[in-house]
Symmetry: C2
Subunit: 198 residues, 2 copies
């Protein structure tokens, strides 16, 4: 049997509307009724597809991971040697591209939920881990082909990630776009430095 076409479509549509509404109203401020209004359907229809609000949030986190993973895929497919892939990836990670992928307010709200709901923590941890492993794998490839010198790819990937996490947390505390861009650039240089590139 499986899910019919319309089921998959509706579910995706609902998650998208959930995200859109959450951008405006905040993740916790977004009710099922508001999502329904965005889609011009009845609230009960949303409940028909997602049995609870927690299920909706889980789906939203999954959606978020998909978006981030796409950047990895794109960086891989656009180049053909490991070094060029790595440079392309780092360039995208430390750019507006990456930051604009998912609304900051929604992202940090979801992150905050991790501390109260173990299921969300597991979900979020998995995203983070998947992304780190993706980078680690690429670093290992670059090391093996002699492009970079990286003794411990996993550790280096982790370091790049806490530079990344810290940078985005930090730049949102700066008032002007100019300052933000400046710091983003700074961090990117630091990342390349850590990798022994450029």
């Amino acid at each position: 049997m499986g899910l019919s076409n319309i089921t998959v479509l509706r579910k995706r549509e609902i998650v998208k509307a959930f995200y859109q509404t959450a951008v405006k109203e905040g993740l916790e401020g977004t009710s099922i009724a508001k999502i329904a209004k965005t889609l011009e359907i009845q609230p009960s229809l949303i409940v028909h597809y997602y049995k609870s609000k927690d299920e909706l949030i889980t789906a939203l986190i999954d959606h978020c991971l998909e978006l981030y993973l796409k950047i990895f895929e794109e960086s891989y497919s656009s180049k053909n040697d490991p070094r060029a892939m790595l440079v392309a990836l780092i360039n995208r990670m430390f750019s507006k591209d990456w930051n604009d992928l998912f609304d900051d307010g929604v992202y940090y709200s979801a992150y905050a939920m991790v501390f109260r709901e173990p299921a969300f923590r597991e979900k979020f941890s998995k995203i983070h881990k998947t992304l780190r492993e993706q980078l680690s794998d690429l670093l290992e490839k670059c090391d093996q082909s002699g492009e970079i010198n990286c003794e411990n790819p996993s550790l280096t990937a982790n370091r790049i990630f806490f530079l990344l996490d810290g940078t985005y947390f930090f730049i949102n505390m700066l008032s002007t776009q100019k300052e933000q861009n400046e710091h983003l650039k700074q961090s990117k240089l630091l990342a390349f430095e850590m990798l022994g590139l450029k």
Copy 2:
């Protein structure tokens, strides 16, 4: 005239109850009624002291800043030369002390609000800036007395902070306490390295 003694006490008491409740129920899940229940008073009494929920949140953010600033003060007063102060400070910043000061869930929820409410952004930015400046001032003192070599104290302070922000964001994605401690230690070493200490 000014605020009477009982006013100051009650207001502080309410903010504390707000925090306690938010730790359990989440920042956005904490209603005025729940705070009132925690204190065993009427909801309307809370409204008497804080005209709106936003005022309450603002007070909570202020309370948070006070806590963090205290760590700076303590680090300063416990030692008498700049270098010892700096070492003491970095040690505390990259330790459970710092992390346990304020609940992570509440902290990141408040941070997330910054993206929807400009008043909160201003407030939060100010906290962050104040802390960075405190560190920058200390770095400058250390540089002048020749304890460390720091050309641009402000930039270095910023770098320490995005290492700090990133580290705490990152370690909460790790499952075991052991892994978390390991990474915290790693980051602390990196911080000392960045400062040319140890």
